[in-house]
Symmetry: C2
């Protein structure tokens, strides 16, 4: 039995009616509600633990319909279509009979093919040569990840001055370190702080409304990555009238691309 806080956070209990029961985790609490990366991992877990699951995740989209209240939730995963080697899932999460998350996932059995990582890992100093971010934080979940910013850390001064660009590069992993699996990779895909704070340092209210993850890693790649560092890179493409997007990539230390992910985020001002 693992004693890692992430395992406790994403644990689901299968119910007699085919749904799963989960619970928000104090260890991954955000300003309002839980850290979205863990909520996304819980949604994925409902498929991973489903008795009809075929293959491994290729894509996941989750839409955050409301901030979860601290406490229990119900999550359902329905196999909408099962083909010979692929499967499409519809996911929904409820609290008190209200939808708090909608989502879809695509799973598949992978085959050996020609391949290439086209988006190459940028050159940054190794993790040991980059200072670990630390100091007091107002949100609990941040303490569950080790972050070493090679470029674009959380602003030290909230001046509101347009920085002209929003890119951040950092080494990151679970704290304490934990062997990578699809659930934890899902959490790690959402660790990046909102790009609007980086582009224009003002602590404006924000909230992710939709996130999509493409899993380029298969089980073998997860295993050889183990509990090593990932390099994360993230940048916005546009900020306009209350919503911005951010794209991100995650590589392992060997430079293999594990994940590409995108999200669209509400912001005020």
């Amino acid at each position: 039995m693992s004693s890692h806080p992430f395992d406790a956070a994403v644990a689901l209990q299968a119910q007699a009616d085919g749904t799963f029961l989960g619970h928000t985790s104090a260890a991954y609490a955000n300003m309002v509600g839980p850290f979205g990366g863990v909520t996304a991992a819980q949604a994925l877990n409902a498929v991973l633990q489903h008795p009809q699951r075929l293959g491994d995740p290729i894509s996941l989209t989750v839409n955050f319909a409301a901030a979860l209240a601290d406490g229990p939730f119900t999550v359902t995963a329905r196999p909408a279509r099962t083909n010979r080697s692929t499967q499409h899932w519809v996911i929904e999460m409820w609290q008190n009979d209200e939808t708090v998350l909608t989502g879809t996932a695509f799973f598949g059995l992978r085959r050996d093919t020609w391949g290439a990582d086209e988006h190459r890992m940028p050159a940054v100093p190794p993790p040991a040569d980059v200072a670990r971010a630390g100091g007091p934080t107002r949100v609990e979940w941040v303490k569950r990840y080790e972050m070493r910013f090679a470029e674009g850390p959380i602003p030290a001064e909230w001046t509101g001055a347009d920085q002209g660009a929003s890119r951040t590069r950092l080494w990151l992993r679970d704290d304490p370190p934990r062997p990578l699996d699809f659930a934890s990779l899902t959490g790690l895909s959402d660790v990046f702080f909102p790009r609007v704070w980086r582009r224009r340092p003002l602590l404006v209210p924000i909230g992710t409304v939709s996130m999509t993850i493409y899993y380029h890693a298969d089980a073998a790649l997860l295993q050889r990555t183990g509990s090593g560092y990932l390099l994360g890179q993230t940048q916005a493409q546009a900020f306009r009238n209350g919503y911005f997007d951010q794209t991100a990539q995650l590589w392992n230390e060997a430079g293999e691309l594990l994940v590409t992910t995108h999200q669209v985020v509400y912001y005020k001002q």
Copy 2:
């Protein structure tokens, strides 16, 4: 009544039970089944035409569960959660009681805020200085779009030699020209030919399994874009074990970013 083939293709008839009835379009036929961009537009249209719709699209994810057969289909859109100024939708499309598409959408009312286009339009010659792609084509839908490739056209020789990169840049618009709306912008977001053919020119079988669109354009921006050209840019990030992703951006001629979009695509070999 518009006589543009796109309007006929995405038309839906509201049914007494709250579902919509649509029909595949011969004008937008692909190798197997219809052009996915029109299927995605039909899915979006089920929300756009829904009596309970609030606001405009901010994000759309569609998952292609099976190639549609030529003929009618049923599509449903369910408002899973309606907040004060935002709305989350679950979409599903059926043929013969089998799911052929799943999806989710997020709609919202936009407010004026600070904004910036961070991903800037690349410098390419104007549309009039770029030759229009033409010649015989095996698929009907390609004739419904004007395409002028500034970089990375469809390969002339299928040598299989690794090109090292997969980027394409092209001017594109509906043919005949048609004032832009959210449905046609959805179709235009899927016009890019598969990146695996560009990176490694071999006509391997492919099929998009999931596509996400972030709409940075609001109604005013659509209106000032009108029926002008869009500049599209697309590139893959990784190809591995049967699946690759491709990202894309669409700007209007004035350089305003209208859409960022991503898809994950099955490929053989």
